[in-house]
Symmetry: C2
Subunit: 311 residues, 2 copies
């Protein structure tokens, strides 16, 4: 059923109205299928990002593995925190980041590029698949692979059924999402846009491969999102879905004065079923109000939250 | 008709055999549709690149326009050569490039980034469409939009009919190809991979846009091709088509020891209908011979050359 996990109300109607308008051949707002491009943020928009982004948990486990293999790393942050399961240090790094102090987060990002240096894209893919095979959310009582939002999965399906092409445009690492985006969201790897580690081409005569470099290529957040969307798609989206300040440029870029557009901003206001927070979304919420974008209340607009069943 | 402009012979059979094998459900070489990824170089592979790349002609016209507007540019290369239609200087720049001296070509590339600085992606698109509306090849007696190779257009169609997804992976500028790749090849913008100028996101309150910066983002040639193919697609191709040394890594990357693959290298050996040259392809031809890749002879394997009719 289309949008079954969405409660009856203005938000659900806004989505149905928009899809009806742009698919009404002969109507004033008709948009050809090729131009029906929809972009979705991932962390906090398609899947849960609290108490920490899923990728951060994956990364910490990898850092702990490296520290287990190499004792000399155990005195060095963030390896030390990862090895000692020092949730306090890691949590503080995220809090400081939201307060504008990125020193610890940069330490963490530096460790990430070191942790996957010289790993091939296929090996990384296998590590990600293995992680999602058994890792669980620390508080929700769900496996991570059950932490996708069921209403968003239904929205992706609904758009797909109406000739849209959906893309993920996330600040998270592109190659961390690709191995699972098909199962979780029905989005194939070529439609996953995200941050990227640099890659090196290796030719060993009879075999060729691509390996990650110990350096970021780009961080797909804020004003970089429209740039990466254009680079990949070559079209301006007409629908964008996000949840934070980092999604603002992507939301603003979806549509022009003369084309129909829909912007959805997910508000996390559901402490019972998920989390209740606005930190990192203040500016986005203010802009949504000013520009009449559609704010999705998790609490009021979603009758169920998780694809894996609510806890 | 499939591959109608291909002459009967080993090359045409090699293509048919490969497509048959990977689409034979239950056969040992069957490849699922999602993994049937084919990548094509553009200049000299899908359209004519002699006596100069089509994009170079477009650029020279733009430089001449700028020099016509600003007299101070007329003493400075490459604006001077463009303004004076000094084909000799421009030709020499290309010859020097093939001989390993890139000084003049770098001057030219520097001017390109200056020529399109602060142009929006939509304006650039319109300039490209306008150029292809009337510009003609200097010697073949064809409009540039008629300079696509008909056999390659048929090959793209044939692959499309058999569940492949085709991409252009070119050293040429991505956004120069996108506006015409649909009409010429049936390839939509999201499947055009190429070199990229840097982009800046501009938010002017009620309108948003993307503008080119006076700097390259990356040059999609040689070992950068597999990197950009993975970045965009997230899969390893099983079929690659190229014509020069810059395509070698892309050709080598298409396939592994355990997966079926087809590599096609186009040999320009047809002075009567197109051009006869191996400069810039020596290493690719030697590798093709050593690795048993399929060399396509324009002269022997193609019964007609141009989509716009042979001259």
């Amino acid at each position: 059923m289309p949008l079954d996990s969405w409660s009856d109300g203005e938000t659900r109607s806004a989505i149905h109205d928009f899809v009806d308008r742009v698919t009404d051949e002969g109507g004033p707002d008709y948009v050809e299928p090729a131009a029906r491009v929809a972009v979705f943020d991932n962390d906090g928009t398609l899947w849960c990002e609290k108490p920490m982004p899923i990728q951060l948990d994956f990364t910490i486990r990898r850092l702990a593995e490296l520290a287990a293999e190499d004792a000399s790393l155990r005195d060095e942050q963030p390896f030390k925190a990862a090895y000692e399961k020092d949730v306090h240090w890691l949590g503080a790094a995220m809090v400081k980041h939201y307060q504008g102090d990125d020193a610890d987060l940069r330490l963490l990002m530096g460790a990430v590029t070191r942790a996957f240096d010289a790993v091939t894209v296929e090996d990384y893919d296998a590590q990600v698949v293995s992680f999602f095979g058994d890792a669980s959310h620390p508080t929700l009582g769900l496996p991570y692979r059950g932490c996708a939002y069921q209403p968003m999965v239904e929205l992706l399906d609904h758009l797909d059924d109406h000739g849209f092409t959906t893309y993920i445009a996330s600040g998270g690492d592109r190659d961390f999402m690709r191995p699972v985006a098909g199962d979780l969201y029905g989005v194939p790897p070529e439609r996953v846009i995200g941050s990227a580690l640099g890659l090196t081409y290796i030719d060993e005569g009879t075999t060729t491969s691509l390996m990650y470099k110990a350096a970021m290529d780009f961080f797909d957040d804020g004003p970089e999102k429209p740039v990466r969307i254009w680079s990949r798609i070559g079209r301006r989206p007409i629908l964008a879905v996000g949840n934070s300040n980092g999604d603002l440029p992507m939301l603003a870029y979806a549509g022009t004065d003369t084309t129909p557009s829909l912007r959805l901003l997910l508000l996390h206001d559901d402490a019972d079923r998920e989390f209740d927070y606005v930190a990192g979304a203040e500016e986005a919420l203010a802009t949504a109000k000013r520009q009449n974008w559609t704010v999705v209340s998790m609490k009021d607009d979603w009758s169920s939250v998780f694809a894996g069943g609510d806890a």
